[in-house]
Symmetry: C2
Subunit: 302 residues, 2 copies
């Protein structure tokens, strides 16, 4: 398919064309950029980032949000970003959502993306996929990620609203870093509200914001039973309404995030593309005492 035809089909909402565009974004950044340039930036899609530690039920929550927004008649795109590493698996999030009933809905488009060796491609591709979904007429993009490491930052950067999903009794390794946590969320969700300790969790989150200029909502939700989802939907709407009405502040924030993530991704991809031979040669020079690691690193990037 020619670029021109692909662009035209994506803009008409053709799902196959959109899928092709996304695959292009994943594998061929320059090709995807060519695709995006003639589309402009409609900037209609509202991007909700959903992040939180593993196991807090983010996918079930996404499922509920799809349901709620489909009732409103919105077209919903879902991007599940898996920070796959050699240790943890990838492509788990999206697969779960895909197994739900929404996959058959022609106004729901679900795509999971796993990083491949952290070459930086994920940061760049996520932004491009959001823009493709936007161009294809999706009103809402739910961007889900396991909230560990770099992917948090990306989600926060490119989203218009960020949900931080927690649950009662988070273990030792997944502690809540108070300082950082306070900064990133627009809405805090204590999911699995049927579990013991949910109220305690809400109270301790609220206490974090006491005396701070910011007081984002803290909600108890059960994605399982659906309890609290309506309130969550309403709180998202409070952020989305001014956006839809044309407020540019959130748009600028998201564009800025996309620029930074695209730059970050490009830098990482450049390094990943540097030849093994060059790195090996530099390492030999360091071993022989002819240069330093720092000087070699500078030459590797050049």
């Amino acid at each position: 398919m020619q670029v021109r035809e692909l662009v035209s089909r994506i803009k008409k909402g053709d799902r196959t064309a959109l899928a092709k565009g996304i695959t292009l974004a994943e594998n061929d950044p320059k090709g995807a950029a060519k695709l995006l340039a003639p589309m402009g930036s409609p900037g209609r899609a509202f991007v909700v980032g959903i992040t939180g530690p593993p196991g807090t039920g983010k996918s079930s929550l996404v499922d509920r949000l799809i349901e709620a927004y489909r009732k409103d008649g919105l077209k919903v795109g879902v991007i599940a970003v898996d920070p796959s590493s050699p240790i943890t698996g990838g492509a788990l999030l999206g697969d779960r959502i895909r197994m739900s009933g929404h996959a058959a809905d022609s106004h729901v488009f679900i795509r999971s993306m796993a990083s491949r060796g952290w070459s930086g491609g994920l940061s760049r591709a996520t932004s491009q996929v959001i823009r493709l979904m936007d161009a294809a007429g999706y009103d809402l993009v739910l961007l889900e990620t396991v909230g560990i490491g770099q992917s948090d930052i990306e989600v926060v950067g490119v989203s218009h609203a960020v949900l931080v999903v927690l649950m009662p009794g988070l273990g030792d390794d997944i502690q809540v870093s108070k300082a950082g946590l306070m900064e990133i969320g627009d809405i805090y969700v204590v999911n699995k509200s049927d579990l013991e300790g949910a109220d305690l969790m809400v109270v301790s989150l609220l206490s974090l914001f006491r005396g701070s200029p910011r007081s984002p909502p803290v909600l108890k939700v059960s994605a399982l039973s659906g309890e609290g989802v309506e309130k969550l939907h309403d709180d998202i709407e409070k952020i989305r309404t001014p956006f839809t009405a044309g407020n540019t502040e959130l748009r600028l924030k998201s564009i800025r995030g996309m620029i930074v993530e695209t730059a970050r991704g490009a830098a990482m991809e450049h390094l990943a593309g540097v030849s093994e031979v060059k790195a090996e040669g530099l390492a030999r020079q360091v071993l022989a005492g002819k240069t330093t690691i720092e000087a070699a690193a500078a030459r590797l990037s050049a």
Copy 2:
């Protein structure tokens, strides 16, 4: 303290000087590079990377390894790298080890490092801290990280031997990605061997390597009781012995990793240092349709 005096003190094994050098590496990369240049690359320290999902007991295992190697008379440095994110806390790993008895041992040096906003500084600093410990006469450096995301790659890159620590009954979110997992470990440890399912875990790991050219050891260990730690120590020694005897292959691999991580860190730090004003201006141009995200990203990095 002048650089010259600091260098001389670190080389004599002065702990206060080493701590100062590490703080410099964390906060002032160029200052640390100046410190490292006159030290050369003794390359005596053997670096063991220890990675795995949260909660698998890596810190307890590190504790056991310190114990085993202190019996051998080695000086042991420990770097606990916490992939802190806005969601997960930082500085957990090292604190736990520090609470153990080894902290009082003058031949054990423990330092935990948390990333601050993922500006890339961690990658670069980790390499520098290894080199400082090396210069200070540490024979063994244990580099521990929670095995999620970018930190895995760093650990693998700069280490001479990589332990992958797993445990029976790993949950849904922390799945073992077979393809990736097979590539990174030199030794696989199924910790918490008293738990149900340990044998099954060993069997399934072994089955991953069936028919592959590589067959790394898969060990059942209980860091709690100490069972299996001696065998683990022996297996590490099988890798360390040729290294100590002067084999350069592992040295080259580690230096190559340090060069790449230093370059990666420098690129990220550069981007983090780009002014908000510049990013904001570019975002406004994108919003106005005067440029594309890709072009803006290229200008941001320039």
